[in-house]
Structure formats: structure tokens, C-alpha cells
Symmetry: C2
Subunit: 449 residues, 2 copies
């Protein structure tokens, strides 16, 4: 029997793995989507040349390729294809350069997000995008999914932090995109096109990202409780229209606060409606926090506080573990225009009531991105009911002018929802671009677009 991997093994040597442990370890991401089968091999790439060799072999053999960074994705985008090739970038984890004067860093894709941030901070700078998985996610994965996080209201999403990319195209050629200048209008925005393309157009093998100066002074955190969702929503709009901007502005509904307090008791007051928590930074952080709390009170906050510690943000950070502990494992990632936040939350309550099950929602309130988790058991029937409820939440977000995914991406888990948001013309344009760059359809086929 001939080894189907012989040609690739000859090129990659020990950087090609096909043992069961490696196949298992690199076979999936952190989503609830089970891979449909096992890959034939994993490329533990150490260079763009390795990636090029992998894609060249995949093109010649018609093998589907999935691309994997830290494996923290929540949409099944990095799951292995049956008989496919996994290209892992976790060994390409060097910070190649920190250019302090231009506030840029050049990194390999496997650099862990938090490691880049820590390295930048040694120079008085920081890396602004902060997905919740920053401690284990990689920059390459963050870029491929246009990752969000808590600080987007102040610093934007990952796309806005990317200046240059090195990408291996499906035909093995290496493409350089972007520029280190702040402004550049030469050609199409290929950098922006690859950001968020979820491994369907090319494999990112290096990136230049923008850093920011660390704000001076000590941050202030704040919290405000509201009797109604409408009052909390009005506060979010008032803050958005004000001159004093928070760096973080999060919302937790009553049920999610209740969950956190029940699993990690800290004396946190459970609001009747919802709670806003956030952070202000800069030399006048105290004044900004006071102005924001004042807007909350004007909108009807029943209690509020400001702190010099990060304790007020703890409840938000503990929401995911608390909800997971309670078995609220299915969640969505919809977004709505900020002014529709209260209407959306009220609609989610109605969906919960209609199905006789509770839903906990935490939201990046400042940017309208909601994660609603449904209380449901482990059985197939319960899962089906939860998925029906999440579908209803998704359709409601679309009715309100929103999106089916604010930051997690489409991957394989939301692929069936794509036509809910995009027109047939839009999907056709996506497919044309995909075909223009990947005519053989080897990269993440059937996912994302």
C-alpha cells in the first residue's frame, strides 16, 4: 500500500503528524459542533513555506484543509474535515518585532493574544482587542475571525488593529497586504478582506498589528442597577451620545446576575431589570466614571457605585463559568443597533416565557452584541427546544436590523443561517470572491460563506 501522505511527509518531515493523539488534539475547536470525522494528518507548520507545501499538496490531491490557531473558536470553523488536512499555526508563535515609535508589532499567527499584549506593555503600549479567550487564543485566529471582546466600544474590533498581513494563498503563493502607514489607499482593502474571512481565502502566516499607548492613571470601574430593561437601555443610549466614553460597558440581565451570585456569592445586589458594569480609563477616569453613573441615574438607576478596583467587573467575568455550571450551555452571539437593545432584551424575555424556560443574557452593551444562553437539559429533546429558542432570538435580532453574529463568526455552526441575513446577491458575490482566490475550493470548504 502506498502512503497517501508520502509526498507531503517528504517535504515536511516531523512537521507532519498523523498519530491518533495529535489528530485528536488538533481535531476540533471549542464550539459545540462535533467534527464530522477525523483528519488524515496535521501540519505543525513552522513557516510560510510549510503552509505553502501543505496547501500545494492539498490542491493536488483535492484534500479539504482546516486552519487552526489556539482552538478557541466557537463556530466550528477550525474543526477537522473527514480525511482532511489540519494546518496548525501554534508553533509559529514568535513576536518578530515591536516597533515602539510607530506603535506596531510584527507577529507570527500562533502568538497568544495575551502574550502580545504583555510584550507591548513592556514598552508602555498595549494591544487593544481583548476577546474573552485572550489567554489562549492566537492572533492569527483573532484576525481570521475578526475577534471582538469587551473593549470594542473604545478601541474597535480586531480588523481596526491590523495593518499588514502575510497570507499563503490556496495556490501556495505568498501575498503581502496592507502597509505600516496610518493611511494607504493603494488598491483594494485586501487586509480587511482577509480579516474575518475565517480561513476560506488564505492562511495568515504573519501580521503587523497596531498598538496603543497605555492610558495614564488608574482605571475606575462602575456599576448601576436598573428596575427595568428599558431604563438600562436608555442609559446605554445616553452614554453613547455623551462626550464621556467608557472603555467597557457591559449589561447583565437579572437572571445572569442571579446565576453569578448563586455560584460565586459576593453580596451582589440582583437588579429587578438589569445591571450595567463598565470601566473608564485615562487621567480623568474618575470624572468620566462619575459622568457615566450620572447618566445612569438620570435614566433611572436605582443604585450605583464606582470603584478603584476591578471587582465590579468580576461579576461579568464570572458569568460564563456560572452559566456553564448551571447547564446553560447553548448560547448565541447576535447583535443589534444600540438603540434596539432594550427591545431586544424584552423580546428575549418573551421567547423565554413562551417556551417556559429561562434565558440569561449578558451583552457588550456599548456595541449591542448579546450572548443569550438558554436553560435546557442534556437530552436531544431539550437541545432541540433550546436551539429553536436560539433561532427565535436570532430572527428577532435580524428583525431589529441586527446581525446573526457579532464576534464569534459563522464557521460551520451558523452556516445554515447565512441566508437569513445575506441576500442571494450578497451570497453570490461572496462565492465569486471565494472562487476567485480559491478556485479549487480546498480552504475551509462549506464554511463561513
Amino acid at each position: 500500500v502506498t502512503d497517501p501522505l508520502a509526498a507531503l511527509r517528504a517535504e515536511l518531515g516531523p512537521r507532519l503528524a498523523a498519530d491518533p493523539e495529535t489528530l485528536h488534539r488538533y481535531g476540533r475547536d471549542s464550539s459545540r459542533a462535533e467534527p464530522e470525522g477525523e483528519a488524515i494528518a496535521v501540519v505543525l507548520a513552522e513557516s510560510a513555506a510549510d503552509v505553502g507545501a501543505a496547501l500545494g499538496w492539498a490542491a493536488r490531491t483535492g484534500t479539504p484543509v482546516s486552519v487552526r490557531g489556539g482552538g478557541t473558536g466557537l463556530a466550528g470553523g477550525a474543526n477537522a474535515y473527514p480525511g482532511g488536512l489540519v494546518v496548525s499555526l501554534d508553533r509559529m508563535n514568535r513576536i518578530l518585532e515591536i516597533d515602539v515609535e510607530n506603535r506596531l508589532a510584527r507577529v507570527e499567527p500562533g502568538v497568544v493574544t495575551a502574550d502580545l499584549d504583555a510584550a507591548a506593555r513592556e514598552h508602555g503600549l498595549f494591544y487593544a482587542p481583548d476577546p474573552a479567550s485572550a489567554a489562549t487564543s492566537t492572533i492569527g485566529g483573532n484576525i481570521a475571525t475578526n475577534a471582538g471582546g469587551l473593549r470594542c466600544i473604545a478601541h474597535g474590533v480586531t480588523r481596526e488593529a491590523v495593518a499588514e498581513l502575510e497570507v499563503v494563498l490556496p495556490d501556495g503563493r505568498v501575498l503581502e497586504t496592507g502597509r505600516r502607514t496610518v493611511k494607504d489607499v493603494v488598491g483594494y482593502d485586501l487586509t480587511g478582506l482577509f480579516v474575518g474571512s475565517e480561513g476560506t481565502l488564505g492562511v495568515i502566516t504573519a501580521a503587523t498589528v497596531r498598538l496603543k499607548p497605555i492610558p495614564p492613571g488608574e482605571p475606575r470601574t462602575f456599576r448601576a442597577g436598573f428596575d427595568s430593561l428599558e431604563a438600562a437601555g436608555a442609559a446605554v443610549i445616553a452614554i453613547a451620545l455623551g462626550a464621556d466614553r467608557p472603555e467597557i460597558l457591559e449589561l447583565m440581565d437579572a437572571f445572569s446576575v442571579e446565576m453569578v451570585e448563586s455560584f460565586f456569592p459576593s453580596g451582589l445586589a440582583v437588579p429587578r431589570g438589569a445591571m450595567l458594569v463598565g470601566q473608564a480609563v485615562g487621567s480623568d477616569a474618575q470624572r468620566i466614571a462619575e459622568a457615566i453613573v450620572e447618566r445612569c441615574v438620570e435614566a433611572g438607576a436605582t443604585d450605583s457605585e464606582i470603584s478603584t478596583t476591578s471587582s465590579l467587573l468580576e461579576a461579568r467575568r464570572l458569568a460564563n463559568p456560572a452559566l456553564t455550571a448551571r447547564g446553560l450551555r447553548l448560547s448565541c452571539d447576535v447583535g443589534v443597533p444600540v438603540a434596539a437593545l432594550a427591545t431586544m432584551l424584552r423580546g428575549v424575555e418573551a421567547i423565554a416565557a413562551r417556551h417556559g424556560r429561562r434565558i440569561a443574557t449578558v451583552a457588550h452593551a456599548g456595541d449591542g452584541n448579546l450572548h443569550s444562553a438558554v436553560e435546557a437539559g442534556d437530552s436531544p429533546v431539550e437541545t432541540a427546544i433550546a436551539e429553536e429558542m436560539l433561532d427565535e432570538i436570532t430572527r428577532l435580532a435580524l428583525e431589529l436590523g441586527g446581525t446573526i453574529s457579532g464576534e464569534h463568526g459563522i464557521g460551520s455552526t451558523k452556516h445554515h443561517e447565512l441566508p437569513w441575513q445575506l441576500s442571494a446577491t450578497s451570497i453570490d458575490v461572496h462565492r465569486r470572491i471565494k472562487e476567485a482566490l480559491d478556485p479549487g475550493g480546498i480552504l475551509s470548504p462549506g464554511r463561513a460563506v
Copy 2:
């Protein structure tokens, strides 16, 4: 003789013009590139349907189409093609909606940039991108060229202000891109792809743009004079790394200050090296301006001032008319990483000395975008020398990691420079995307990419 325009005239009626005056009026933009000939007709579009009819006719007859907004472009991108069709969008000039709570405006493409800003200000909001031509340029043209301006250091370029687009594709289909949510990771960034595509992929017939709250308090302007380019460059880097950010940070070299003072005398001190001028906004504008001036002094500024009026920015605004009056008509639009600004300016001086001609440079210092204008006569020989000097400046910017165009675009005038910056692979990827969306090659053929 049959009228070649008969079919199109039947669809458009009086919205199709072929009289000499209209052909002349809509035949070119504001660049120095003369159109190679006259169009066959101008479509004075009043709707997306008109644009669709025009593109459909052009596709059937193989007629090249140029697209025109306010005609303020500086790269020949809107110039007519000989025997081509001009699609003008200046009649589609309605502000369709201002959504205050979500800080968005929905506009037709022919809305004049300054008119949108004025309308937003009635609601306490403003439109941040501010190209110098804002009083006559249109939003559609701004989007098609990803226009820059003075405030990019604080608010980013036009791309960052665009949330949604309605685009008529070359085959006449209408594509909606983007979302009103702050975060959206569904599909490719088609919005960002069309922004800056210079009329090569589709015709923008509506846009939703992001607005910002007007900063409170009175702005402060500041000025600092430097004996050397290096000192001014060091000040720019120090400001970029500091926590106190200006809204505007412009540089004028000694020759450009001299020109302004000579044509519009106001007692402005001509620096030996260069002058920085800028603006700080917000409730602590005075403190920010003082901090920035302090950094200038630390970097070696020999004199400085802060003002509550906009007078210090006047010199920058008068630079273009002063240089034009002096006959410095040829200029470039290169950009370099901010830390390379002083090296770039020193190199421009060397190019001037080598050719025995003076060069005046004004720069959006905060983002590294330079406009250098060469002193040259009107003759073909003088023009050739000036163009040789501008080519040298462009190649120097590239050597320093810069770009051939920071904000004016490629159009037809810089098309030959494209391979200086982009690799063959990159140009091939551009062409593939162009062909995927415009297989007939009717939209702005041979321009931009």
C-alpha cells in the same frame, strides 16, 4: 443613421444628456490628467434603477463607464472615457435619515460632505471625515476613494465611518453590504472592499455612515516652530506615544510657511526647519494642548503658542492657494510610517537640492501623509523635471516602508506606479477580484487596480 443611445434614452428620458455643455461639465475631475476624449453621454442618475439601466446598457454595448460624484478627485478616476458613459450621482443628494440614537445617517451618494456634517450638527453629532474638498466633494466620492483629511489622526479615514452600502453591480443587480450594528462578522467585509475601490467594482447608490457626538467645550489650536526637521519629527513621535491626543496635527516645512506668509502676510514666523500646527478638542482641550506643546518644547521647539481661535490653522488652510499662486502645481500624496517623517522630509530636501528646484511640503504629520509640491514652470521640459522629482519622492517613501498614495487614490494618474508598491501576486489578486465582480470590465477599466 440609428441613434446608438436610443435604447438607453428610452429608459432614462431627460436623465440622459449628450449635449456639449453637459459632456464638458461632467467630463473630468480636478486632477491634472486631461481626459483622453469625450464621453458619448452622461447619465444624470436619480435612483439606483437609473444606475442599473446605465450599467446594463454599458454591459450590452461594451461601453466603458466612469462614475462621478463632486468631481473633486485628484487622480483622474472620474475622467470620461472616449466614447464612454459618465454616470453622475450629483442629483442623488438627499439625506434619507439621521438616526440620532444609533449615531448613523443614511444618505444618497451625491450628498455634499459638508452638508451631511451640518445636518448631523443640528442633532449634536458630526461627520468626522473631513477631506479638504468637503465643501464640494460628495459622500459617494469620499467612500469610493476612502477619503482622508485633517482629522484622521483622531477619527480614522472614511472606511471607518461607513456601516452599510447599497451598490449597483456591473450586471445591474443591487447589493446591500454591512450592518447598522457596531460589530458584525457575517461574511466578508464587502463594505470595506467597496470603500476605496474607486468605481471599479460597483456604483454606490446609498450609504449608512457613522456619526460622532460633538466634543464639548471650545477647541484649542496650537503651533510650534522648530529649527530642524529632525526636532519636528521627534515631536510628532513623542505626541503619538503620549496619552494626550490632538484631533489635528499638521506639519509645514519652512518653504511652505514662507509661501503662505508671502502671499497672505499675517506676521507668521517662518521657522528654520518646520512648523507643527494642530487642534485639541474636548472639555480638557486646554490641558491637552498644553501637554502637546510641552512635548514640542522637550523635542526642541523654539517658539510655540496656544489659541482659542482657529487662526493658527489658517496658515495650513492657506497652503494650497499660496502654493498654487506660486505655480507649484504638481504635487504628490505619499505616506510614510510616522517615525520616518523626518528622514522623509530630509530626503525631499536632498531631491530638491539635487535638481536645483525648491519643494514645499505640507504633511498630515499625525498620520505620516505628505503632500510635496515642486516649483516648476509651465513648459513640457519643466513638467518633465517636476514629474521626475515627484517620482523620486514616491520611490523614497516606498524605501521607507511607505505608500504611493495616502488619500488621493490611484485613478489614472498613478496607475503606472501600482507595481512599485504592489507585488505581481497582489496585482493578480486585485485583478481576480475585479474580474469576479466585473467580468465584462466595463467599470473604470484600466484605473485604480
